[in-house]
């Protein structure tokens, strides 16, 4: 029952956050100096385009009525109709790209954790050793390599020189097309995760209970993985959660390089085409996911760390 109450409270506050983000976007659009239509459209826009935007933003109505209309759209009408594809609601547009984004995010997370955890353990086991220094420098290099560049580099290597993977584009659908984008995103995330994991592990390894576990005669792998790594998971999960949220819209660069559809590229496209309902729907989708990730993290913290569990 305690869990149920916890969930209910968190869902309500999460929905509140999403609503606040959506309202913030609405008022940001209206707080701009000058006519929003002039700001959003450049001078080449036709009179019809201006009228359409004015009508869709309900700019001919008083502000309160505009806001009520906006909230009704948000709750009941799939966030309004897309300007570019009026036959679909903005929410439907987001749903179309959602699976592609989710698959890429999960794959990239998988790559990052599979690389980062073993490296962090290796480095933290002997601080100051050559392995430690090598892991430290390579994680810094991985952090500095922008995905705007590693993406094209990987394409060049695997699709042009080695010819083992399909060139990015509509032909590169399916699992083989996912390998390079996941590697590109995973590599830069792995850099930060390795650094965090290494410093968290080093701190944990100084704790008395690690000495106690060793004194009990537990083997080094058991001490490292079952005792040290488990405690070090809490800061790592915080970083991982932030990275997962950032992947939703932030994968846009990788999506562009590999010509993939996704939430980020839909957002960019809708911004460039001034498709306001779709852009707002993207922001709401990102906000919902951020809230959901935070909720999952809170559950995961309690699962990993008994101290948090007993604190309720």
């Amino acid at each position: 029952m305690r869990w149920l109450g916890f969930f209910a409270r968190r869902m309500v506050s999460g929905l509140g956050t999403v609503f606040a983000v959506a309202s913030l976007c609405f008022f940001a659009l209206h707080a701009l100096p000058g006519d929003p239509v002039d700001v959003l459209l450049d001078e080449t826009a036709s009179g019809a385009e201006r009228a359409q935007l004015r009508g869709a933003l309900r700019l001919d109505q008083p502000l309160v009525a505009q806001y009520v209309g906006f909230v009704t759209d948000l709750v009941a009408r799939g966030m309004g109709r897309s300007f570019v594809h009026p036959e679909r609601t903005a929410l439907a547009e987001v749903w179309r790209v959602w699976p592609s984004t989710a698959v890429l995010a999960v794959a990239a997370m998988g790559v990052a954790w599979a690389v980062a955890i073993p490296l962090a353990v290796l480095a933290a086991r002997r601080p100051g050793s050559r392995t430690d220094a090598a892991v430290g420098v390579s994680s810094l290099v991985a952090m500095a390599l922008p995905s705007v560049w590693t993406g094209p580099l990987l394409v060049l290597l695997f699709c042009v020189i080695l010819r083992v993977l399909p060139f990015p584009g509509p032909d590169a659908a399916g699992p083989s097309g996912l390998v390079l984008p996941a590697l590109t995103l995973g590599a830069s995330m792995a850099g930060i995760l390795t650094r965090m994991g290494r410093s968290a592990l080093r701190e944990v390894l100084r704790e008395p209970y690690i000495a106690a576990a060793r004194a009990k005669g537990l083997s080094e792998p058991v001490v490292l993985v079952a005792h040290a790594l488990r405690s070090a998971m809490v800061p790592l999960m915080t970083v991982g959660g932030a990275q997962l949220s950032a992947l939703l819209g932030g994968a846009v660069v990788t999506e562009k390089v590999f010509e993939r559809r996704g939430l980020g590229s839909l957002f960019l496209e809708s911004l460039l085409r001034r498709d306001v309902p779709v852009a707002l729907a993207c922001v709401v989708a990102v906000a919902c996911t951020v809230v959901l990730v935070q909720l999952m993290l809170d559950v995961a913290y309690a699962w990993v760390d008994p101290r948090i569990r007993s604190a309720g």
């Binding site: 983000v21 976007c25 659009l29 500095a144 705007v148 094209p152 394409v155 846009v252 660069v253 852009a279």
Partner: protein
């Protein structure tokens, strides 16, 4: 006063940063061509005596774009970091120092802002203007940038506020503003410098990413836009993407290494 010794990661990081700074200052003066000079007869050429790094499409000299782009990257990153640090310290540090409701509201706000993907916010802000310029880029990056400084400033204020010298200053009759600016803030500068160094690298990367997406200042030569062109010609002329990518990566790596070095220098125990 701590004396800084160039050692460890600083041996590589500091020269990279100095090289970037020097390029940014001198670049536009020594660039052999204007970064927009079109020469259709020599488009996508390899390195020659006239064009040391070759040309991109429309025959634009790649070296010139690189040199002029360094200035843009430096202007954007330094301005963004200054503005973000100022906002972050005043909002995050100030609210925490005032305590009570201000402090808890600011803590929640920074937590919420940090969990939202910053690139999405940057893109949204830039899209609010039809032709983004350099100032818009700085504003868009600062909207998300201040959060990091606010968190560092908050942690420092919490660490320092109950120390004896703060109590002593209050006992001597110093006002809250004087205590904050003259006693707390100077002692919080070390971690803020480290944060700012990493922030410079992160801003160079963010500017390149946004320009790559076509949201950069259209009138200026930019590394991200050069990389975008290079990606389009990746099959035939991978050189352009290479040049831009190496420039961006070396700069970001330089700032990250320098940040690590600075942290070790200012706090040798960590």
């Amino acid at each position: 006063m701590t004396t800084l010794r160039i050692e460890g990661r600083g041996v590589i990081g500091v020269p990279l940063v100095l090289g970037f700074a020097l390029t940014a200052v001198l670049g536009p003066w020594v660039a052999p061509y204007r970064p927009r000079a079109i020469d259709l007869a020599h488009s996508l050429e390899g390195p020659t005596a006239l064009h040391w790094l070759g040309t991109s499409d429309n025959g634009v000299d790649v070296l010139s774009v690189l040199l002029v782009g360094a200035r843009l990257a430096a202007v954007v990153s330094v301005s963004t970091v200054c503005l973000s640090a100022l906002l972050g310290v005043l909002l995050g540090g100030g609210a925490t120092f005032l305590g009570g409701r201000w402090s808890s509201v600011m803590a929640r706000l920074t937590d919420a802002a940090q969990s939202f993907p910053s690139l999405v916010v940057n893109m949204g802000v830039l899209a609010l203007v039809s032709r983004p310029g350099v100032a818009h880029m700085i504003a868009a990056l600062s909207v998300t940038g201040w959060v990091g400084y606010a968190r560092v400033a908050r942690a420092e204020v919490l660490r320092l506020e109950s120390r004896e010298f703060v109590t002593a200053a209050r006992a001597l009759g110093a006002g809250e503003a004087r205590v904050f600016f003259r006693h707390v803030l100077p002692n919080a500068l070390g971690p803020l410098w480290v944060q700012a160094t990493f922030g410079l690298g992160a801003t160079v990367l963010a500017e390149a990413s946004l320009s790559f997406l076509g949201l950069g200042p259209g009138a200026a030569a930019s590394w991200g836009a050069l990389l975008d062109q290079g990606t389009a010609h990746l099959l035939h002329t991978p050189r352009i993407a290479m040049v831009a990518g190496v420039a961006i990566s070396a700069t970001v790596l330089g700032f990250n290494l320098t940040g690590d070095w600075l942290r070790d220098q200012l706090d040798p125990r960590a």
